[in-house]
Symmetry: D2
Subunit: 275 residues, 4 copies
């Protein structure tokens, strides 16, 4: 274990080779400096709904808007997102609110379609889709790389290395829960990953308390825990009416809940890391 750091074969991602933290600028947001809050619905549903929600989460302190247009779902019969239309809505709401936007890309042939999306998200199931990693590595966009649900830290950093090796240094790592034997929660938030990754790499590390719990009642404690563990940001699913969400309503919080989480999270960040 002692030699874990020096033996692992990632280079560009390694803190040994690059001691200072990487800060990634997206719009006027500096990811990796202070606490960045990313919020929005699991899936984009309509422009009106997204615009209203964006205003609310922005007022609560979110600086980046999330929204899924292409949804990789375990079953081919589940709602797959509204696709191209979703991207267009995201771009409109970005213009209306001034918030940079992040959305998941599942196919390299969609890169042109994502030209006005600020951050390309690679989902957990595609973390080792090396063709896609290389493709986003050839863009100049920030990439939000989610940890595979059964990936080690080494696998995760080597996936980041695929992007970095193509010349794109703007990689944000996201711990989103691993698969374990426990079924009460959808996934098991590996909170150790946050400080461990900070030891191993200079890239920013954020957490997804929505997927890593799968239960809205656990989103607050998981969010606060991730911040207390040193996360550089949170990406949280927020929905005006979680019970009516087209996707993943069980893990969404309301704008009111998000407001309280955001404010408490900022206080914890200050106490624990910015004294």
């Amino acid at each position: 274990m002692e030699n874990y750091i020096t033996n692992i074969p990632f280079k560009l991602a390694s803190r040994e080779n690059h001691p200072e933290n990487t800060i990634i600028r997206v719009g006027d947001v500096n990811i990796g400096e202070g606490l960045t809050l990313i919020a929005g619905p699991c899936a984009v549903e309509s422009e009106t709904a997204l615009f209203e929600l964006a205003q609310k989460v922005k007022a609560s302190g979110a600086s980046i808007l999330r929204g899924g247009a292409f949804k990789p779902r375990t079953s081919p019969y589940d709602f797959q997102g509204i696709g191209k239309e979703g991207i267009e809505i995201l771009v409109k709401v970005k213009e209306l609110t001034g918030m940079p936007v992040v959305s998941e890309i599942v196919d390299a042939t969609d890169i042109e379609l994502f030209r006005d999306i600020d951050i390309l998200q690679i989902g957990s199931r595609n973390m080792q889709n090396f063709s896609l990693l290389k493709a986003v590595g050839r863009t100049d966009k920030a990439v939000l790389l989610k940890r595979g649900y059964a990936s080690t830290y080494e696998d995760f950093l080597l996936a980041a290395e695929y992007i970095l090796a193509e010349g794109n240094s703007k990689v944000i790592l996201c711990e989103r829960g691993i698969r374990s034997f426990e079924n009460y929660t959808r996934n098991t938030l590996d909170i150790n990953a946050i400080p461990a990754l900070h030891e191993l790499t200079h890239l920013p590390v954020i957490a997804d308390p929505s997927h890593s719990t799968g239960r809205s009642s656990l989103v607050r404690p998981a969010s606060l825990a991730a911040v207390a563990a040193g996360a550089d940001g949170l990406i949280i699913e927020v929905h005006q009416e979680p019970q009516n969400a087209l996707s993943d309503g069980a893990q969404a919080v309301t704008p009111e809940q998000f407001d309280e989480i955001a404010s408490t999270a900022k206080n914890i960040r200050e106490i624990a890391y910015e004294k």
Copy 2:
């Protein structure tokens, strides 16, 4: 998932049947009310060292002293603790400092030997040693029950139920990390367990950031995360000279590090749960 709570077969441990939190009084400490800090060495080594350390952690806010006398080790050739002598040292330091003490019991025939120990700890490997659970269930002592490293929440609460069913209601649950595929850390702290167990049971839930990370550099972030997730307490391995510890030095923090963790943890507790 919706019916997880109502379908599970634990009764006395269930929050459904007992909505209010259980508070367990040990000495003049109320576990389950505010944040309880338990600190001390992995293994008791000498009276002098333990007394000095106890004074320091007490000054930093620890209200209970931990120390292992009987150490269940994976290998029969590893240091197994100093046994009876360790118990005697713990009792002396308890008298000198006024701090209640907790120590691990591995054999029901030792119960008489533990008569002046305040809290009987059941370790992870013995979580389903039902003979031992029943034996401590027949005492009137508080029991610190550590989660088995591959136990579900249901298994864990059913193990508690074995103790409760014998008439002893003073069970403190402890999340101490689960075994996963990740080897950078010794175990994977299941932070979700803390709020999830609070949903399922009225018993106090504490966390062990030492075993659940196995690396002293991760103890601070894991401790703060557990408190932010709502833990009722922390049990932390502290050693004056971690590099010279007879057992588990790699995960011990110094008294100075403990002091800062304790103080920041108390602040997080206040901000997140006692506003």
Copy 3:
């Protein structure tokens, strides 16, 4: 990985230190030589039922009879076995049939009660109950040690080492399934464990296809697979009327099914390992 063998800290269990296979004689059965079949009910229910079943499985090729008297159950409210009476029934049926018997021991204080039981079984949940391991290590009885459901091969062999280090060399290892993320089966039979353990140790290795699948429909393929992987034996739950079993009926096979499994297993053993 190359140095896994030489680095691990078990000594008496190691094949490096003891290249030839250990053969354990119980009654007139040589465990570790050819294929040994152990069969019987999960829990002993009555003398008549056990005697009838024993005659059937003996006729099908089983040479050792299994039967649980003390059943460690996850819930305190589940059937816990008939205890002392179960042991007495086992001993009577042993006398009537001449078959050696194996039964699980859960408490060191029961050793005297097990004096006429030929093989002491340590269950998965007690694999790291080191007090119990030491206690059976001080007897001269054969011990059937089941792998903990989240134990590595190293943990498993170190548990065996606890018994060996007390002077008892008659340890039979049993792969009984590990806990994974898959829930269709009760456990995941780690078939690799059989040849891997044969590489690492000289002790006999058997498999439990009943617990490692949890579904009677999978017992035949799992049994045949274990034999094809080189298992020295099988321990199979057989019940005259699985649907009426007091414990674990879902994974029991009928005597007729056992008869076919036993015969096919012996043929596979011959083709694959005794040419």
Copy 4:
């Protein structure tokens, strides 16, 4: 658990909806009828070497040739296969030997390049790359779908469903080991998966004893176990000089070892499933 089958949301893959086994014809091989042996090197290295090896494994009973041209590797710095040239070599050796060939596809834009490859392999890391699944689902080629290393049977069958739902019914499932806490082996062969998948689906199920063990010494027992568990085939890495292989030499067997495995496997198949 009882309702697992009827509750899971796959339709076209379900045995309930399609009780008879699916047999997939590739060249003059019927996959799903008897035992199909697929063999060849991890990575295609040269035409001469592949041709020689193909002749040997064909003589030993292999009816399909495997060979990787595009190798998805965890690290971007590891050997990634020889790409297009490897495909060309495979096609030449197919013509010379008459053996159908299988090779891994990692990018939908390569489908035209694979026009003379008989079976498109989807690797474990791409099992939930839904874009790629849909793309191969729109071809008329057989698809060898490897189980994701942390996928449940349900996830696996839903991935197959993505292919089936596009109109391609020629899906061969491959158990290749899951990730567990055990590190002596590269992966843990989930032998239960073979009969369990046969219960749940009508599609053929084969096993990969090379990746599921990661150690050449375990390939024979794992192969025989998979056949004894009812596998419809095996896909085995064979190399003339494993110690000089460009990729995965540690898990390759020699042609001589393959010959013995093939012959013993066929005998086990006959004894256990074709009486």
